[in-house]
């Protein structure tokens, strides 16, 4: 069986995988990182978004073997156990940006990608950028507010 070596949330990881094993499956079933969710498996819903080498990707549509040598960050990598939440996670909590929570880890990882590219995104930008992340509970309103607030907090922290 082929092997893949990569860094996940700052720690080296190595696993035997099949050719067809997706990154989402490697994370959830081999590495036990079940914070990354799998919704549609057709590259539409965004529940599986993680960062690979610093950018958001849909982990259900990337082969584990394509991650050889890559640095992957999942929702578990944003705040250590017992440590304060990441500012974007805190903004999601503050603004009640989730109901069932199924889409939330993908939403937060995409939110961070948005904040990376748009230091102070307006509402239209956030809604456009969330095209590939589906939420069936909230109607998006509070998610949009949370991302705007989280991005502001992150930008302010960067400048101070």
């Amino acid at each position: 069986m082929p092997e893949v070596s990569l860094t996940v949330n700052g720690r080296a990881a190595r696993s035997g995988v099949e050719g067809r094993t997706m990154l989402s499956e490697l994370l959830r079933e081999r590495l036990g990182l079940t914070g990354t969710h799998v919704g549609c498996e057709t590259t539409q819903c965004g529940a599986c978004v993680v960062h690979v080498n610093g950018v958001a990707v849909k982990s259900c549509t990337m082969l584990a073997l394509q991650c050889e040598g890559a640095s992957v960050t999942t929702i578990e990598g944003l705040a250590g156990r017992g440590a304060p939440l990441h500012p974007m996670q805190a903004a999601f909590r503050e603004h009640h940006a989730l109901q069932c929570g199924y889409c939330t880890s993908g939403m937060v990882m995409m939110a961070l990608d948005i904040a990376r590219r748009f230091p102070e995104p307006d509402e239209a930008t956030i809604r456009e950028q969330l095209k590939g992340n589906i939420c069936r509970c909230t109607g998006y309103h509070n998610i949009v507010k949370a991302i705007a607030a989280g991005a502001r907090t992150m930008t302010a922290a960067d400048r101070s």
Binding site: G19, R20, T42, Q44, A56, L63, L65, I114, A124
Partner: protein
């Protein structure tokens, strides 16, 4: 998904040899191929990953922008040289899929996949692009060959596409309100040589095409009024739950007029959803 052998060759030559064998396919960003493989079609026995082997440089060469086939959609949409000299292309690419898809999907993968609702094929046709492969250089009009087909032979790899710079061009796509892919997209451009080009995507099951009747009507005067009596033949138009053939034809006719009007003003991309602009762009970069 059926399992397959995964190969990461060290050179394009080796990739070409591996991909030429029976049952093998090339893998670029995988945003079309992996998704389709999950549905069981196609079902290759071997995937040859060319990520990292294909050029990804984006540069101005005279009056042409050359884009390496390995450039991701995010890289093309954000490239200063494209945004400055061919902003309509940067904006079109910046609206492919979604941001995560744009971080993986590549120019070469998108045109080799030639999806019927693809944005890049329309851009290649309307901008009169040239495609370079490991074996030849070929005009976009010759490259695309119907539903998910191109002239690419087994083991032949797209390495770049060259887009001539035009100043009057616009692309409008009308999104399916639920799935948010294009139901019809129209790209209108006036070539540097004065010839009008109109490419339509998502309307026909066999993919993007140049709308010759519209181009003929616009020859001599690139004005939306010239399209008033031009009708898109219903033959071969896609029909699905969301739109029948006559509706798609009407969309193409309306969008073509709007694209020509927009192009006359300034290069632009408009994405319509539910009939109202979802984005008229430029503030998103």
């Amino acid at each position: 998904m059926r399992d397959f052998e995964y190969h990461r060759p060290g050179s394009l030559d080796e990739a070409g040899r591996l991909a030429a064998e029976d049952g093998a396919m090339l893998l670029a960003g995988g945003q079309t191929l992996l998704r389709d493989m999950k549905q069981g079609h196609p079902s290759p026995a071997r995937l040859v990953d060319i990520t990292g082997l294909v050029p990804r440089e984006i540069e101005l060469r005279g009056d042409t922008i050359s884009i390496g086939a390995g450039a991701t959609h995010a890289e093309v949409a954000g490239a200063e040289v494209v945004r400055r000299h061919l902003p309509v292309l940067a904006d079109l690419v910046g609206h492919i899929g979604d941001p995560a898809v744009r971080n993986r999907g590549t120019l070469g993968g998108a045109i080799a996949a030639n999806e019927p609702a693809g944005d890049y094929p329309a851009a290649c046709l309307a901008l009169d692009a040239t495609v370079r492969t490991t074996g030849r250089t070929i005009a976009a009009t010759e490259f695309f060959r119907g539903d998910r087909r191109t002239v690419l032979e087994a083991g032949e790899i797209v390495t770049a596409a060259m887009f001539p710079i035009v100043t009057r061009a616009a692309y409008i796509k009308f999104l399916n309100p639920a799935a948010r892919y294009a139901m019809v997209g129209v790209f209108a451009a006036l070539g540097a040589d004065g010839s009008p080009r109109v490419a339509v995507t998502a309307a026909r099951a066999d993919g993007a095409f140049r709308w010759q009747e519209a181009e003929a009507a616009l020859t001599g005067e690139f004005d939306a009024g010239r399209l008033r009596d031009v009708r898109l033949p219903l033959d071969g138009l896609s029909e699905d739950l969301f739109a029948d053939g006559p509706y798609r034809a009407h969309l193409a006719e309306v969008l073509a007029g709007r694209a020509v009007s927009l192009a006359a003003a300034a290069p632009a991309v408009v994405v319509l959803s539910h009939g109202s602009p979802a984005s008229t762009d430029r503030q998103h970069h």
